[in-house]
Symmetry: C2
Subunit: 299 residues, 2 copies
């Protein structure tokens, strides 16, 4: 038992200026676990409705995602719809139908409770607390969150930050939480709030890792075409913790590699709709894109 | 004779949310030549008025800047004033008094005409054409420009782009010139317009180098304090061409280093007002910051 991922499982409707898809695999757990699966065996906790497609179950099984913690409940699966403006500058939520997710209360199977690596993917901080309460091991805990929880559940989020090892948030969320636009100052304040590792994501400009007095910058890959940015952040953090769970090495140098592989999966994610870009990848695909980062980054 | 830099020389008034300074050294040539001076001996062309402070002449001489092409004319030196919004999100021009710069017509001294490296720092594209017309050598030409010339002198700028080797512009200017938000597509269009090398600057997110099918990304350094961003782009391109003129190596790998040293000087520039941050630096200062880029970039 090594890696546990808890977050949302959804069926998404996504509209861009050129395409639209509906009822496709979505939710933070789905992206995170598929991205992590290239490095480690993710054990997920989640809830779906009776309408959840068998094809997605097959997809997850094909990627060796352990589904012992996946519960099917009467009713419909969580559905989310979003529309992207041209150039993906902005995203509007079209609808959020929680359905069976409304009463989701993540229960870790006994076999999950000794996890060494835990990814608290994006869900309400109260539920994330509840996940940690069930752990019987001293795990390396990575937390992802979003602006909504900073707005409506700040106290729970702040107490949660004292229980985690790494926080992964985007630049706007870092500004919301700290009032600091300067990345270095924002990261220092975030580390003062608990986590010894902080990652600030900057979208197409890549991400920054902060730990002690060290900083690592991974650039964004310059891609020919972005089709759907949904799940890019989840793919990033999923691959990151998957890489850590595989390598079991928490040195700064290894954490750099975890960020690069996070970026590799995020870059594949945005090149296609839903999870299409991060499924059935070969090792050679990962190596090829890793090499692109090497060429682009190393001097 | 190796490196010639032609642009503007000014005395600046700069207001930020916390400080203000007036009649301090400014103008593209001033920043570019000081930044370049750490690597090569820059030969500048420019015009100043009778009021130009002897102290700035001394400063330039201290940095081994060749002033044979510097002309003093009756009247006052070009003055520019700007005010930065809080967090430097925005800059407002307070005044532009061209004075002796209004009739500036750059004349290259004979000793400059066999330059191997020419930096056309930011001035009107018509004047930049005139500089190239006087060259008697096949030089490696780097062009810097700004949104103003894209607006009011686009045809001259476009014909100029066919005469240069490298274009250095920021992301907004790249969008203005190409209509492309995707950096890869924008760079491809810019290269189709002439220069085989394109650098797109992204402010605090660093810069991207494009050449043939290769891309290099240099990240922005995370700085504790930015005091005055004026001249950061000039310092970047000045150090870049200075490094090239010193190393005489136009390989992609060496160009990466030129961008890193450009970023080193730009990072020093913004830490103090006017040119204060990029004067009287020691080799150890450059090495120290270069090492920061290594730690931040290499994995």
């Amino acid at each position: 038992m090594s890696l546990v991922i808890v977050g949302s499982i959804a069926l998404d409707t996504i509209e861009t200026s050129t395409h639209s898809v509906s009822d496709v695999p979505g939710g933070s757990t789905t992206y995170c676990s598929l991205a992590a699966s290239y490095f480690a065996k993710p054990h997920i906790v989640g809830v779906v409705g009776e309408d959840y497609p068998e094809s997605v179950i097959t997809l997850l099984k094909d990627h060796h995602v352990n589904l012992e913690g996946l519960v099917t409940e009467p009713g419909k699966t969580f559905r989310w719809g979003g529309r992207y403006a041209e150039n993906f500058d902005n995203r509007t939520t079209l609808f959020t139908d929680l359905n069976v997710f409304e009463t989701f209360n993540p229960a870790l199977p006994d076999s999950y409770k000794k996890a060494e690596y835990v990814l608290l993917a994006n869900i309400h901080p109260g539920l994330q607390h509840h996940v940690l309460d069930q752990l019987e091991s001293k795990a390396f805990v990575v937390l992802d969150t979003m602006n909504l929880w900073i707005d409506i559940a700040l106290d729970e989020l702040k107490s949660l930050m004292q229980r985690i090892n790494m926080l992964v948030i985007n630049d706007e969320e870092a500004l919301m939480l700290t009032g600091e636009r300067n990345y270095g100052k924002a990261a220092a304040k975030l580390r003062d709030m608990g986590p010894e590792w902080v990652v600030i994501k900057k979208g197409q400009h890549g991400a920054l890792l902060f730990h002690e007095d060290r900083i690592f910058a991974v650039p964004g890959l310059v891609l020919d075409e972005v089709l759907d940015p949904t799940g890019a952040g989840d793919s990033f953090v999923g691959a990151l913790i998957g890489y850590l769970a595989q390598s079991k090495d928490l040195s700064f140098d290894n954490m750099k590699l975890a960020l690069v592989f996070g970026s590799v999966l995020a870059s594949y994610c945005v090149e296609d709709f839903s999870v299409e870009g991060i499924t059935y990848l070969e090792e050679a695909d990962l190596e090829e894109r890793y090499d692109e980062f090497v060429i682009m980054n190393q001097f």
